[in-house]
């Protein structure tokens, strides 16, 4: 309940950096459409980690995430001539990736198992872990592993729609409008889903959270 107003404070319009990014993507897309296949490699390198991150956080399985990321890029390459630039390239690519992932999750609902990536302890993540424990060495590793499992459990308890919105907003940092564009729903629906998902996550992760 406390986190919802904070989420609404986030900017709802595309930032100048995002706009600049979209423009450079547009140039690359035009080159690909003109037949320059190498330009698509640039786009792959630029977005593969982000696309993988979204899919990975939705599936909680690194192998599935890798396959789905590759499939998303292949689909994007096959359909690049139909991309008319009505939305930014990364929104379009995300839409392909999210839809493929949702289809995959629907198909493999009963046979889901998790495999995690290792948390890279860099600046921000290290700060969070420091706040949670003052221990070092093996004990710290164990805590991180436990936290990772708890986080994934909590995420998997969300429905796919709610998980998608949380992933895109909290983990990937997309705006409400961008999420609405990717998911294909209204901004109000995005906010509502986000609010509900956060409530659920807070109840699941209560022992780790500030009161």
């Amino acid at each position: 309940m406390q986190a919802a107003p904070k989420a609404l404070d986030k900017p709802l319009v595309a930032s100048p950096e995002r706009q600049q990014e979209a423009d450079s993507d547009g140039v690359l897309v035009k080159r690909v459409q003109a037949g320059e296949v190498a330009a698509f490699d640039t786009l792959i390198r630029k977005y593969r980690e982000r696309v993988f991150g979204v899919i990975y956080n939705m599936t909680s399985n690194r192998e599935d995430a890798a396959d789905l990321t590759q499939d998303a890029f292949i689909k994007a390459f096959q359909s690049i001539n139909r991309f008319q630039g009505q939305s930014s390239f990364f929104t379009w690519l995300y839409r392909i990736a999210v839809n493929s992932t949702l289809t995959h999750l629907r198909k493999s609902r009963l046979r889901s198992f998790f495999s995690f990536e290792k948390i890279n302890e860099e600046d921000k993540s290290a700060e969070v872990i420091d706040k949670l424990t003052d221990k070092a060495g093996v004990e710290r590793e164990v805590l991180i592993k436990e936290l990772q499992e708890k986080l994934n459990e909590a995420m998997q308890k969300l429905s796919t729609k709610h998980r998608t919105v949380v992933t895109l907003f909290e983990i990937d940092g997309l705006s409400h409008e961008e999420i609405a564009d990717v998911v294909g729903c209204s901004v109000g629906t995005v906010r509502s889903r986000l609010h509900y998902a956060k409530q659920l996550l807070q109840s699941e992760l209560e022992p780790y959270l500030r009161p």
Binding site: R62, Q70, F77, K124, E127, L132, E170, R210
Partner: protein, 276 residues
């Protein structure tokens, strides 16, 4: 080994956003991306070589439909409205065009033509009971000179001939009846006399209770059968004898047989058909 949440209660806690930020830090190693790229190239090549199936284009074609929802829906509504209005619009009667005769008159015309044909077919049968059916009275009323009160037509052949000359003023049904009668009178004077006799019976019939004129289906079938059956050649035979013979035949025929017999006999404008 694991710290329970209770034991961690004294330690500083984080917000949900901060906790979720840890998920951002779950990143694969450089080896993973090398392997990823290799697999991607293989898949890309396979996808390029793979022949596209024609049905893959169907979902893409349907994906464009949502954009056309409003125009398509509006067109469909307009088409349905146009068809409905066209279906239920009353036909306009144009001036100078005579509308088709009502069913009763049409039936009467058919009957009258049948009379002429039957007369041509069975020359020696003046005493058969075909005559003019009672239903022809409304049509007769449209003939000038017909007595509407009694139903008498006043069958004067000369008058009919005159009427024929003036036929352009008559209704189509009256013209047809008059023409048939005149033709029949010219060909068969006997038939003309018979028709005249029938007109007197019509006079009697009109004086009776209207419901009494309604013939039962059995009677209609029987009359029809007798009309087609060869009548006695001797025209001098009395009506009583004919009636007795008919009654005998009719009493021996069951309803089913009668219906069967009648069904086998058919007549057109210029033909008589018998089914075996």
């Amino acid at each position: 080994m694991n710290e329970s949440p209770e034991s961690r209660s004294s330690s500083p806690k984080v917000s949900l956003e901060e906790l979720l930020r840890l998920k951002q830090a779950e990143r694969p190693s450089a080896e993973f991306w090398m392997q990823f790229e290799q697999e991607f190239r293989t898949k890309q090549l396979a996808a390029a070589v793979e022949k596209r199936r024609w049905w893959d284009a169907i979902p893409r074609a349907f994906a464009r439909l949502p954009r056309l929802q409003i125009p398509l829906g509006a067109t469909a509504i307009l088409a349905v409205t146009f068809l409905t209005v066209r279906e239920y619009r009353q036909p306009e009667i144009q001036p100078g065009v005579i509308p088709s005769a009502p069913p009763m008159v049409a039936a009467t015309m058919a009957d009258s033509s049948a009379v002429v044909d039957e007369a041509e077919f069975s020359v020696d049968s003046p005493a058969n009971s075909v005559g003019f059916p009672v239903e022809s009275a409304p049509a007769l009323a449209s003939i000038p000179g017909a007595d509407r009160e009694t139903g008498s037509t006043g069958w004067d052949l000369n008058e009919l001939m005159e009427q024929r000359a003036r036929s352009s003023e008559l209704s189509p049904s009256a013209r047809s009846i008059a023409a048939n009668l005149a033709a029949a009178a010219e060909l068969e004077p006997e038939l003309a006399r018979f028709i005249d006799g029938q007109s007197s019976s019509l006079r009697l019939a009109s004086a009776r209770e209207p419901l009494a004129d309604v013939a039962s289906p059995r009677d209609v079938r029987r009359d029809r059968l007798f009309a087609y059956l060869g009548a006695p050649a001797n025209t001098a035979e009395s009506d009583e004898e004919i009636t007795v013979v008919r009654e005998r035949i009719a009493s021996r025929l069951s309803e089913a047989q009668l219906y069967d017999q009648v069904r086998r006999i058919g007549g057109g404008a210029d033909r008589l058909t018998l089914k075996f």
